[in-house]
Symmetry: C2
Subunit: 245 residues, 2 copies
Amino acid sequence: MTSTASLHEFCARRGDLAAPCRLCGAREFNLCQALDGGQQVKLFALAHRLQLGKRCRLFSAGDPVRYVYNLTEGTVCLSRSLADGRRQILGFLLPGDFLGFEPGETHRCDAETLTEAKACRFERPVFEEFLQDNADAALHLLRLASTDLAQAARHEVLLGRKTATERIASFLLDLRQRSGARHLRTQPLALPMTRSEIADYTGLTIETVSRVLGRLRSGKLIELIGASAVRILDDSELERLSGSA
Amino acid sequence: MTSTASLHEFCARRGDLAAPCRLCGAREFNLCQALDGGQQVKLFALAHRLQLGKRCRLFSAGDPVRYVYNLTEGTVCLSRSLADGRRQILGFLLPGDFLGFEPGETHRCDAETLTEAKACRFERPVFEEFLQDNADAALHLLRLASTDLAQAARHEVLLGRKTATERIASFLLDLRQRSGARHLRTQPLALPMTRSEIADYTGLTIETVSRVLGRLRSGKLIELIGASAVRILDDSELERLSGSA
DNA sequence: CGGTGGATTGAGGTAGATCAACATGCGTGG
DNA sequence: CCACGCATGTTGATCTACCTCAATCCACCG
């Protein structure tokens, strides 16, 4: 059995969350970091640090669930596709996000890196055993899951009830907010995803995404820096246009 | 401190999950049931059984999170609205579903009963303490949250990438599947929600919902029994039309 | 019965999709 | 270091699925 030390206490005691974790190099609070210091020997032994290239598939829908991942660097995109190829992107994951934890035996969506990325990978059964022995860790993960659920709810509103402009404005503001929360650069804000991926996230087409971004640019609300970065020039107006995310 | 007996073991030992729980009358596996027998005295003492009328508000977006609920009878609808009144329904909850567990201090969505309903209500801090002491319960709730997340993902695909017909077909099949899993009648299948609520769930308008249902009826795929029940006549064709939910 | 709120049906409008042409920028190799 | 070629992105013209507006219809309630 592994130690049952409280994850929260442990992390609070460490106090230096801004420093990169010895295990995985992450700068954000996450499980990898909490495992630093060799307290959780068993999990430590079975955690693999992955170094991933661009456009690298972590798992696909239908694959058996063998691992749980904690992203520590880079961007990952989660998506589901219909038989005829229509794709819906569920979200863009940033450093600190967990992925791969699913209730059933098979993955229900695809996960692919957009950029070069690093992640910690845990064997699923070991990870579950760890959670059984650490109510705090389970509770922490439960809060993360609740946060994901709240994010999904906002995304459902975006997809079901917002106009094209509102969708793009919401997307930009949400990405900036989440990037900021992980201490990533927000001005200019990197857009590691293609127009096609923005379209599949917002439920629009690439043409509409391009047109709306163009309109926001001519309206001086944003500045496009190449195709893969934006500078947000008029916060409050963009916020207004987003229909309150 | 409360007892730390395993929720799963306890429920497995009881073996009579089909019997109504002494505490809340639920017939499905859920926490209320697990608490039966007085093992979790503290939680038991603080659980209130609620008897709710039709169209009764459990909580609204912005309310402080004071309680966690376990629905044991009836249907509840979760929704989020934009400032101008556009509404997106996130889901229809059935007996056995949890609601109200959120990471922050305020609710992010509205919860309202569609029918008369019963629910167990727990004080949030007590519930959290219970989870801290019961890794199994926390893990169980984590699995429920993962299931909700998978459901949300399917809903995002529906909202972002499906046609009106696919949305309605998916909605009907999903409702039937989930109703069946809770041993509710599926033929005919009750539709406790109005057309307006179906519209707000599928991201369509009431007129489109009505027209699509009408077309499915003339195509002999379904039979409408009044406005609030359907009989699914051609399963495989409806499945095909749903674009694989 | 008769009123009223939800549901259906019809006519016409529009946001965003589709189809098509063109621009741009980036990686590669000369 | 520059030229080339292909990816990705932009812009324009048209089309259509679904929305909007409006007029009934219907079922359930008193």
